[in-house]
């Protein structure tokens, strides 16, 4: 009788300890590695910069990249790589775009892409098929790479087998050697540019 009781308790404990492996992942019901490729047409990279005259907003097109989840049951091992072509960053004003792409600013000719290589995701909080946490990785702008961490949200749709990753980045222009014409960055243009990445990934 006592043995049966102990076995029952052990079974309940084993079941309860096994549950968090699924509950701590937005990839409900999935195990093993997952790979997603960034959908360029749907994904966006919206940036906002404060200048002396006004707030300047723009969008980058042609984003490419991928995400790899080592184990769907433990998404902390999420890695990824995103690439944004500088020449495809637009603000809706051709003159301003030309200045932004020039060597004094983002230097599209010398360093044609901005990249964000995600090494890991920490502080994950999972609610249903949504996970929030901090993405850590290397952000490269103007050829200068810096380690950054940014709040990230990962949503998964089992039905469509796709993910949506949103991240809010604060890009320090001066740390990436972007000084602007006549040293405008930090003076007439705020040294921090806010970027909101919205990336849609389809399963490979």
């Amino acid at each position: 009788m006592q043995n049966r009781f102990l076995i029952s308790i052990a079974t309940v404990v084993a079941t309860l300890t096994a549950l968090p492996a699924f509950a701590d992942s937005p990839f409900t019901g999935k195990t093993g590695p997952l790979k997603f490729e960034v959908d360029s047409a749907k994904s966006s990279f919206v940036f906002n910069a404060d200048t002396a005259a006004e707030k300047v907003g723009g969008v980058a097109k042609g984003i490419t990249g991928s995400f790899a989840i080592a184990d769907a049951a433990a998404p902390e091992g999420t890695t990824g790589s995103i690439s944004v072509p500088v020449a495809k960053m637009e603000t809706g004003n051709a003159t301003r775009d030309e200045h932004m792409h020039s060597a004094e600013w983002l230097n599209a000719a010398g360093h044609p892409t901005i990249t964000f290589d995600i090494a890991k995701v920490t502080d994950l909080k999972v609610s249903g098929t949504t996970a929030t946490g901090k993405a850590h990785g290397k952000f490269t702008l103007n050829g200068i790479a810096k380690e950054i961490s940014a709040p990230v949200e990962i949503k998964y749709s089992a039905e469509k087998n796709m993910i949506k990753v949103t991240a809010d980045l604060k890009v320090p222009l001066l740390e990436h050697g972007v000084k602007g014409k006549g040293g405008a960055v930090g003076d007439k243009v705020n040294a921090i540019v806010n970027v909101k990445c919205t990336l849609f990934g389809t399963a490979k």
């Binding site: 966006s44 919206v46 005259a53 907003g57 809706g92 003159t95």
Partner: protein
């Protein structure tokens, strides 16, 4: 005195009409752009949220809207200065001619 004030009044009236047209056109087009996307410089397009939902039921990110909007700093103000400059130049020329004739 009457000869001098007449052209001045005419020029001032023309300047007022020209400025109303310049700044009125600029304001009419500028005010059609949603407030967060408004610029003091010309724009051929702007970025705004469409209000549509994506596959995950969230608001879609800002999308490009093709629409020309003249800039206050790089179009309306220079146009007004050009018109005012031309009017002042014409007025000075008219005065000089009047003096030479008189």
């Amino acid at each position: 005195m009457a000869d001098a004030s007449s052209p001045l009044k005419r020029v001032l009236a023309i300047l007022v009409v020209a400025d109303v047209l310049i700044f009125g056109t600029w304001f009419a087009l500028w005010s059609q752009v949603p407030a967060p996307a408004r610029s003091w410089f010309y724009q051929t397009s702007y970025y705004a949220e469409s209000g549509e939902k994506d596959e995950f039921g969230d608001a879609k990110p800002a999308e490009e809207v093709k629409k020309f909007t003249p800039g206050l700093i790089d179009m309306a103000l220079p146009a007004s200065f050009a018109v005012t400059g031309a009017a002042v130049g014409w007025l000075l020329l008219a005065r000089r001619k009047a003096k030479q004739a008189g």
